[in-house]
């Protein structure tokens, strides 16, 4: 298994009339073939900006401040728009939250999928159509021949998202970026779409960068989880490490805020305050004002990523050898249920 996507020390800012907004700050991670890495965080934490910048889909005032992006062994950070265009869809694809804004409402879905195939492969129209039908079948759409001629508004939300996935996977990309692909769907449909992403990507060895605000959704499909706060990855590890042995107080807060985990106690643990503005942020750990375990150093210096296991890292001064030992909150003490 090789690394297909590697992001190192990546920072990105928006130049606005009010000043510089540091949307992504020193982010680094690697994605292996067939691996699903979930990026979780609240709105405004920079998760969508990070993904869009990988495909270079951001407006002109987005400036890369440092770092690089390596896709399939090639440094694409300085690629021209022309070269990026040849990568999009072919090597790296993206699925967005709302399928209705991704699909063209006036064109039958079959034609939209065929279009994606013809763009990247030199084959005839008939062969492309056959491939598109095969894709629809793989996306578990019943009666693909009839649906092929339908326009998006005739399909349900789940069905539309399946079509969007078909388009994204049409030219067998190495990396799929999925930005909240199930957020707009009902719970019963949500699980089906998740399973579809999981099975197709595992079968074809596609690496997935799965963006979500919902830790519950992530638990089902992620191999590894990265927790983002204020533009930084504050904790990254395997799903087991993040869910059963979280080390960053923000991760504790996110898990404690899940209604599903508060069933026994009937008591939610909310994180006080609101996320910080990334316009000229102050020095130190931006989570400190909301962190009940904040130390004096949190207000002065940004914590580095401390290593806990070979796969588990967290950026909190609590992991420093000289830090006072603080136990994670009691509500997180649960063994894995089997």
């Amino acid at each position: 298994m090789g690394t297909v996507l590697e992001v190192t020390d990546y920072s990105l800012s928006f130049d606005t009339p009010e000043g510089e907004i540091q949307a992504v700050r020193n982010v680094g991670f690697a994605l292996e073939e067939g691996e699903i890495l979930a990026v979780v965080g609240e709105s405004g934490c920079g998760k969508t900006v990070l993904c869009k910048s990988l495909l270079r889909l951001l407006p002109k005032n987005a400036v890369v401040k440092s770092g690089q992006v390596t896709l399939c062994g090639e440094d694409i950070t300085a690629y021209s728009e022309r070269r990026m265009r040849s990568l999009r869809g072919k090597q790296i694809s993206m699925v967005f939250q709302d399928p209705m804004t991704t699909l063209n409402p006036t064109i039958p879905i079959g034609k939209q999928i065929t279009e994606a195939i013809l763009k990247h492969e030199k084959i005839g129209k008939q062969a492309a159509k056959a491939q598109a039908l095969e894709l629809l079948r793989r996306m578990e759409i019943d009666h693909p021949e009839e649906r092929f001629e339908m326009q998006p508004h005739l399909l349900s939300g789940g069905m539309r998202q399946r079509c969007v996935l078909a388009i994204a996977l049409a030219s067998r990309p190495k990396v799929l970026v999925a930005d909240e692909p199930t957020t707009a769907l009902d719970v019963t449909v949500q699980t089906k779409i998740l399973d579809l992403i999981l099975s197709t990507c595992k079968e074809s060895g596609i690496a997935v960068l799965f963006i979500s605000h919902d830790l519950n959704v992530v638990a089902r499909i992620a191999d590894r989880v990265a927790v983002m706060y204020a533009g930084k990855i504050v904790e990254i590890g395997t799903a087991e490490e993040i869910f059963y042995d979280p080390r960053h107080p923000y991760t504790w807060g996110l898990l404690g805020a899940q209604p599903a985990l508060a069933v026994q106690t009937k008591q939610l643990h909310s994180i006080p305050g609101i996320p910080p503005s990334l316009l000229n942020p102050p020095a130190g750990d931006l989570f400190a004002p909301r962190n009940e375990h904040a130390l004096a150093i949190d207000y002065e210096e940004m914590p580095p990523l401390f290593q806990i296991t070979p796969t588990h890292f967290a950026a909190t001064w609590l992991l420093h050898p000289n830090a006072p030992s603080i136990e994670p909150p009691a509500f997180l003490k649960r063994g894995p249920r089997r």
């Binding site: 699980t191 605000h213 089902r220 992620a222 899940q258 909310s270």
Partner: protein, 294 residues
Amino acid sequence: MNEETLLEVRNVKQYFPISKRLTIRAVDDISFQIKRGEIFGLVGESGSGKSTVARSVMGLYRLTGGEIWFQGEKISDPKIYRKNRRYIQKNMQIIFQDSAAALNPRMTVRNSIAELLQACGLCPGRELDIRINELLRQVGLDESFRGKYPDEISGGQRQRVAIARAISTNPQLLVADEPAASLDVSIQAQILTLFQQLQREYGFAFLLISHDLSVIRLLSNTIAVMREGRLLELAETEELFEHPLHPYTKTLLSAVPAADPISERSRRVLEFDPACIPKSGTLQEVLPGHFVFG
């Protein structure tokens, strides 16, 4: 209707004619009761008609059929509604999902809350601003928010203002339609905790509408499951979660994700066949206090 019942919804139908041939039956003959001080959770997927129920209860539509009784008055009758309008407005309040649309963008936070208090004739003169400050404190804001406009504050803070306004008249019934759905998890937790606190303090009955079973389970005493305009199951919270009877409820429960990778990876969503729901029927009491559509 006994003493304890605050709101009774009796065979309510709410149809929307789209064209000569097509009528949407958003709410199709549903009945339930909410007791004083009870938290009643109404859960359903999108398009199930749960928001229409909230709006019908609030008198925003003229009912196609059925009756709504509030404290022994048949408020679905326009004449009775008009006669008791002030009383109903004071005692039934609603909170919507989109707080940006619920607050007037040209009114300050103070004026938005003051308008309702004045309209209901509460807190005359100097008491008004004292009461507004008190309300802001109760929802976790402070006096500095008085002069702000809705677009100057965050979504969570706006929802707090909407909540402050809704509880300002000390209502008997609070209806909340997806009150935390558009908020981030950490803010959602703050708002839900606030509801728990306020409900304990004020003791209002609460009709909570949500698509999120975990949210409903956390807050409600009683839960009703809705699908395509009809109530399919109604029971006390723990009873419903421990012993769901209707196949649709079972499917819905099996679909709720939990932040627990090991159990999540093996979770299977039950299949649901809509054909198992009879075309017509009513809620039948199968066990004491546990109703199933059949």
